[in-house]
Subunit: 311 residues, 2 copies
């Protein structure tokens, strides 16, 4: 069987890395020959989860076509979020929980998407459907991915399937998921020792919205005032990044994981700022706006932005 | 639960209609509120299958947004093969076995694609995964869809999953699938009482290949010389249809279902005919070429055409 690489999106989070490891394990059990890799190094939260359950960080790749003809994607499908040479390889499998956008293939493939909180929830179902046993440490890693994406099952993206998966995986992993989950989230919420450059790139994705290159970054914190004290430095760094990378708008969502509230910082042209204000029905004040209850980029940020840019 | 419509592609075949009925049944059992409809009337083969297993032809719709906000697609995803106002509704579910092309959504959805011979094979798996029993007559209809798409498991698109599904469904339906399948295929292969206009539209799909609007129609026959005796009339009708509909190339694949051989007729500009010849490595003689062993548009026609048009 020809070797394939399995990976999640750029700026990988715990879902991208954890689910790549889980899906690669499942595919290998089903007779395929795969290696889980990553498009970047683990963030602090992911590193904590990997260490807790005894995994090494996956090898980081810059390109895929130099190694394989075919790849499997988890937790993304949009080409600009994938490996740089995605157009030069076949995609044989996708497991994802996002919208589908600009994803085109010349051949039929396996594509499994469900509107659930985390890709690991879908992979957990696939283990069950294929009657493959989940090892204890892998269950812990998949559990970490779901806790991360759903902010301990509190994000509005959370579904009954995610809760069922968390219960089942916590049992296999033999952990108290609430206690472990809070420890894991806090491990990723320490921003004091990171530069603004690092923070705005930690969990950032690009979206093409009606011809505009829109960057949406998110950071998790436990102390919003501590983060907002660095507002001017964030704005300047976002301006610089936009110039360097050609972003038409850059939004930074700063989320307090303890109470599920966010503040947003936005840079871009006046027109694009007006589009942002239309999307959320709120005025930016000095490039800033409070977004209480907004924690999900996928469910609460990208859809209104898409509608506003296309309207 | 808000009502949704379930349908297959334009110019529906037995997979498009049979699988829409099956998937709608499954979704309703899972608590959704759906109706299976169709984007056209059943062809002779599909009518035979519906009658054999006691189904009415699904209601034909021209648009969806006047009835519902959300739809479920089976056996297709490309917008130009779907309902005319597909851009005006949400797609909540797709079950398909084709490549993914120009299919974009603003929200996450259920998408289940597998590179198997027939969409009903995937839906058969979903019945099993959800532990929903398949009624005897529905098993017969799903069996008909798989026999149709795989030409009695002889097409190169046939997989081990299709064979397994056929065995299981034939058992539930209590039919000899080889004997029934040949009767059903022959019911759809009678071209004597149909005009060229009808025949080139019976099972025809449009593909956007590198900016070209390419039409690929297929007809099943049991007597190739009988069909080729009408060659000049076919070519003239294809020319007229191309002018009317703006096709840059029109290919008609005439397949003998008894020995799995085909002849192709092609109209279009000299450039596009040259691209066709590059795709198949064969010269057209008087707009005609023999394609022995070619029976699958999806696996043996669209991929080489795509490569040739994009090369």
């Amino acid at each position: 069987m020809e070797k394939e690489l399995v990976f999640g999106h750029q700026n990988p989070d715990t879902d991208a890395i954890g689910t790549a490891i889980a899906f690669s394990y499942l595919q290998n059990k089903l007779g395929y020959n795969t290696e889980a890799v990553a498009l970047g190094n683990p963030n602090d939260e992911t590193a904590y989860a990997l260490k807790t359950f005894g995994f090494e960080a996956p090898r980081v790749i810059k390109t895929a076509a130099n190694e394989v003809n075919s790849v499997m994607l988890v937790d993304h499908n949009e080409p600009q979020q994938s490996v740089s040479d995605i157009e030069d390889v076949d995609v044989s499998n996708v497991v994802d929980h996002h919208r589908i956008m600009n994803f085109n293939t010349s051949k039929p493939l396996y594509y499994r998407a469900e509107p659930v909180g985390c890709t690991s929830t879908i992979v957990w179902k696939m283990f069950n459907e294929n009657e493959v046993e989940i090892p204890k440490n892998l269950a812990g890693l998949m559990l970490s991915a779901i806790i991360s994406d759903t902010l301990l099952l509190k994000s509005p993206t959370t579904t009954a399937d995610d809760k069922e998966a968390v219960d089942a995986l916590a049992k296999i992993a033999d952990v108290d998921y609430e206690e472990y989950g809070l420890r894991m989230l806090k491990a990723g919420a320490n921003i004091a020792d990171k530069s603004e450059e690092e923070l705005i790139d930690l969990d950032a994705k690009s979206f093409e919205l009606n011809g505009n290159n829109v960057r949406v970054a998110q950071i998790n914190v436990v102390d919003l005032p501590e983060a907002m004290a660095r507002k001017e430095a964030f704005l300047k760094t976002m301006e610089n990044s936009s110039k360097e990378n050609g972003y038409d708008m850059f939004m930074l969502l700063i989320t307090n994981i303890l109470d599920s509230d966010s503040e947003a910082l936005v840079v871009g042209s006046d027109d694009n700022k007006a589009t942002f204000e239309k999307a959320f029905g709120k005025k930016l004040e000095d490039s800033e706006v409070k977004l209480p209850g907004v924690v999900s980029r996928k469910k609460q940020v990208v859809p209104p932005l898409t509608d506003a840019f296309e309207g």
